[in-house]
């Protein structure tokens, strides 16, 4: 075809905009940027809107430092699960057992650390190890035997719920060791006393802000070096200013109360690490490939079974972390711990733009999705809305978010 067709713009599907004669103006560029990032930015905008709305409705309570700290601590374990869940969903599977596993690990931690006086750090390591084993067990049936993940993890949900009750004999174990309890309800330690702002938090915030800007600048530089298209300097500067402003505001907000909660640090670290793994590593790519088209991935030399197994091992580890965080937060191991966590985690992943057919989704999106749910929970509780109505609203939000997504995709395709 190349010998005859001089204008490459004749391929209609490939270049939807190419037949516009003039180079696109700023408005077109901005709108095309928004369209291409709508799945990502749409949810961030929605989150901002929800925050704003509840900030007004609650008369400013929502964004009080105490309450922001609460939101982080209340949702930490769900967000940890959401990270693992979105990866499972990207790989084309689902995990219904994470709530039960979290509960089981919580019970395990009580049995080990409280009943048997195991040092709590060792206990944490053992619990995470057990989580990995449980993940490997389920992953084995899914990846190597080929039983649908829905079935395997539905079974796991029952098995580990029962095991939790068996371990605890229907009783709660409390209190948890002080060290573990601090992980969930503690803060970055204070330096000096009685300052207006919590200094370690301010310093940490400053470091993170600088790091974020440095990453942005370096990425842009290497993009230029490799001859890729970059946004104009003005847009880039505006983006950096926005990053600095929002991080600074958030830092000061937390610093004016008791500083950064430790859960918050764990979450940020996990989010950054997993986002990096999914975006930039061979393994992350292979997860997307297996979820997007497993047959094509296999014929490209991807070891699908191993990738699937690893995804579930990882889910088991994160479920264990979530179980520990929850036990620490309640300061007890209870038989009902983790009930319905899987549903919240799955909802967070889908609200954050994951696709139920696999191959699509981001860690960052899942976090945003989890925060949407968390802010809704918190805001509605402040307003005194009953849990019955809360559930109805959360269900409708899930439906609306995914519906919006499906609608967008249909418009985007043909």
């Amino acid at each position: 075809m190349t010998t005859t067709v001089e204008q490459p713009s004749q391929t209609p599907e490939a270049q939807p905009q190419s037949n516009k004669p003039t180079p696109p103006g700023l408005r077109q560029r901005v709108s095309s940027f928004l369209v291409s990032h709508i799945r990502q930015s749409g949810m961030v905008v929605a989150l901002a809107a929800i925050v704003l709305l509840f900030q007004v409705w609650t008369g400013g309570i929502l964004l009080k430092p105490l309450n922001v700290t609460n939101i982080i601590q209340q949702n930490g374990y769900i967000l940890v699960l959401a990270i693992g869940m979105v990866i499972v969903i990207i790989s084309g599977h689902i995990d219904l057992s994470v709530g039960s596993i979290a509960g089981f690990i919580g019970a395990m931690s009580g049995v080990l650390m409280v009943r048997n006086d195991m040092p709590w750090l060792l206990g944490v390591a053992v619990c995470v190890g057990i989580g990995a084993l449980i993940g490997a067990w389920q992953g084995f049936w899914i990846a190597y035997v080929g039983i649908p993940s829905f079935i395997v993890t539905l079974g796991g949900m029952l098995v580990f719920r029962g095991a939790t009750q068996y371990l605890l004999e229907g009783q709660s174990i409390a209190p948890m060791p002080h060290g573990l309890e601090q992980v969930s309800s503690g803060f970055l330690p204070e330096l000096g006393a009685n300052a207006v702002y919590h200094w370690p938090t301010v310093i940490l915030g400053a470091v993170v802000t600088v790091a974020a800007v440095v990453v942005q600048v370096r990425r842009r530089r290497s993009q230029i070096r490799y001859g890729q298209e970059v946004s104009s300097t003005a847009v880039f500067v505006a983006k950096c200013v926005a990053i600095i402003a929002s991080l600074a505001a958030f830092t000061l907000l937390l610093a004016s109360y008791r500083g950064v909660p430790i859960v918050g640090i764990i979450l940020v670290v996990l989010t950054i690490v997993y986002a990096f793994v999914m975006r930039n590593t061979v393994l992350g790519r292979q997860v997307y490939a297996v979820g997007g088209n497993s047959a094509a991935a296999r014929l490209s030399g991807v070891r699908n079974q191993r990738v699937t197994l690893l995804v579930f091992v990882n889910m088991g580890i994160l479920a264990a972390v979530a179980g520990l965080l929850f036990a620490a937060r309640l300061n007890s191991a209870t038989p009902q711990a983790g009930l319905n966590f899987e549903l919240e985690a799955i909802a967070a992943a889908f609200i954050g733009g994951a696709s139920s057919s696999g191959g699509v989704g981001t860690v960052f999106g899942a976090i945003v999705g989890g925060l949407v749910l968390g802010v809704l929970n918190n805001g509605m509780s402040i307003l005194g809305i009953g849990s019955d109505v809360q559930q109805v609203i959360k269900g409708l939000v899930l439906l609306a978010a995914v519906g919006f997504d499906v609608y967008n995709r249909r418009k985007g395709g043909r």
């Binding site: 075809m1 190349t2 490939a14 590593t281 997007g292 030399g301």
Partner: protein
């Protein structure tokens, strides 16, 4: 008596950003078989979707007159009511329902919502007789082959009292005898007064059955021709691509053919479910460096199965056989082993086995070789786009950027992405399975050129193809497979379609 059945005037259809059809006219006479030809993306399918109401009235400009009535179809149902039925490229049957249930799906013979099974079965049988399908109407659709499923689709159209039947690439997935049966049926239906519009890339078939040919190019009607003895295939191709295509195959430079680079010996594979059936039976073959070797065979001869099984045992149950590169035996036990040993397999089924259609061009090209552009498991994304840009330029992949999603590319460009992906693994042996299936004429020529270049660089190339002229046009040597066994080997100089076909039809030894 040749009155006009269908007249489409000034049809224009725009999608956001592109005009798919501009001012297209189409006139179909009653009782004719009217072919529509054009390259991929010329607008054939879009035109047929407008005619069948997939794009409802108001979505396009222009006028449709069917049987002297102006038609404003609101959907498929309203076009069906007028007597127009379309059979899509991808069949739309429910695999786990019976033939009879499928034929009357959406149109059940019922009284007050209760289905009359006796009547359904009797009428289904009558329809099956009409299309010449010898199967019980109670057979599940999943249990019959693609060729027969196609006939079920036609029976379904007939049940709706169709007067104009549209067939979109009806023989694309069929073997020769099924194709012939289908074409005979279309001619037969003409005698019963059913007009057909047929979209096809296979010009020889078009020439066999069509009365009239309309050529579309880039969304415009180019010309309408009557089929007669003077009309040649080359003439049609010229209309489609807008130039004389004197050479359908690129000239083959004198090549240095080296030592045996790749050999398979005594390869035997069993069917994955029916383990008494040898799908590949004791096959041995060799390819020299710089040589292009073809594998000819009818559907079910075991060509793809042989390739898949050699490439990481990806099909069936391996029984015996060895793979050699040069003198050395190599392992191809897993796909990664095969890739590591310099073997690449580009599949016949791009959409399901070749590409992740959600991935960008860059991600698709690098998937098998991610380690090459990574340091300690971290992918260097800048290097990745650099690699992809290089292939985009050298393979002439037409896309707005390397981050374009492969699912939105045309077939020819998708195939170039698949080839790029395998070239980036730096193979010595390339197995290309139906490398030009579903690709338009111009892009085929480009693919052939690429294959020639690969051989010129000393690669051993194995080409599997159902199109005999293609094999004869590009290969140095051709093996024929029949029922899993190697039945012949022909050098290019001696190869004719007749000799090959004779070997391909040979029974089991």
């Amino acid at each position: 008596m040749t009155s006009t059945l269908l007249e489409m005037r000034g049809i224009t259809k725009r999608f956001p950003g592109v005009t798919a059809l501009s001012d297209v006219d189409l006139t179909v006479k009653a009782g004719a078989i009217h072919a529509i030809c054009g390259e991929n993306g010329a607008g054939k399918s879009t035109l047929m979707k407008i005619l069948s109401g997939v794009y409802p009235h108001g979505d396009y400009d222009g006028e449709i007159r069917f049987d002297d009535q102006v038609c404003e179809f609101k959907g498929i149902r309203s076009s069906e009511r007028a007597g127009i039925a379309i059979i899509h490229q991808e069949l739309a049957l429910v695999p786990y329902l019976s033939i009879a249930e499928n034929v009357f799906l959406g149109n059940e013979l019922s009284r007050r919502g209760v289905i009359g099974w006796d009547k359904t079965l009797i009428e289904a049988q009558a329809l099956l007789d009409r299309v010449g399908l010898r199967e019980s109407p109670q057979t599940r659709v999943a249990d019959i082959g693609v060729g027969k499923q196609q006939l079920v689709e036609i029976a379904k159209a007939l049940s709706k009292k169709v007067r104009l039947l549209i067939l979109d690439e009806p023989t694309a997935a069929l073997n020769d005898s099924d194709s012939r049966h289908l074409l005979d049926l279309i001619v037969d239906l003409r005698k019963q007064g059913i007009t057909s519009i047929i979209i096809s890339h296979k010009l020889n078939e078009v020439m066999q059955v069509a009365d009239t040919i309309t050529i579309l190019r880039d969304g415009h009607t180019i010309e309408t021709m009557t089929v007669n003895d003077e009309l040649s295939e080359d003439r049609i191709v010229r209309g489609m691509v807008g130039r004389d295509l004197t050479h359908r195959f690129p000239p083959r430079p004198q090549r240095d053919i080296g030592e045996v680079a790749f050999a398979v010996s005594n390869w035997t594979v069993l069917h994955p479910i029916d383990q008494h059936r040898k799908v590949v039976d004791d096959v041995s073959l060799q390819v020299r460096a710089g040589e292009i070797v073809g594998i000819a065979g009818l559907m079910g001869a075991g060509r793809t199965e042989l390739a898949l099984s050699v490439f990481g045992r990806s099909y069936g149950k391996y029984v015996s056989g060895k793979v050699f590169k040069g003198e050395k035996e190599i392992s191809t036990r897993t796909v990664s082993d095969a890739i590591r040993n310099g073997i690449a397999y580009a599949t016949e089924d791009r959409k399901h086995l070749g590409l992740n259609l959600m991935d960008s061009i860059a991600e698709s090209i690098t998937l098998p070789s991610l380690r090459k552009i990574s340091k300690r498991w971290v992918v260097n994304q800048h290097e990745e786009s650099g690699v992809a840009e290089r292939f985009r330029a050298s393979m002439r992949i037409k896309a707005s950027s390397v981050s374009a999603v492969t699912g939105k590319l045309s077939g020819g460009n998708q195939q170039k992405v698949v080839l790029s992906k395998w070239l980036f693994t730096d193979p010595d042996v390339l197995i290309l399975d139906e490398p030009t299936r579903g690709i338009d004429v111009g892009a085929k020529y480009e693919i052939y050129t690429i294959i020639n270049e690969l051989a010129a660089r000393g690669k051993a190339v194995l080409v599997i193809s159902s199109e005999l002229p293609e094999l004869i046009g590009i290969c140095d040597r051709i093996y024929a497979l029949s029922q899993g066994q190697l039945t012949g080997e022909v050098a290019q100089a001696d190869a004719t379609q007749e000799t090959l076909m004779r070997y391909m039809m040979k029974g089991r030894a």
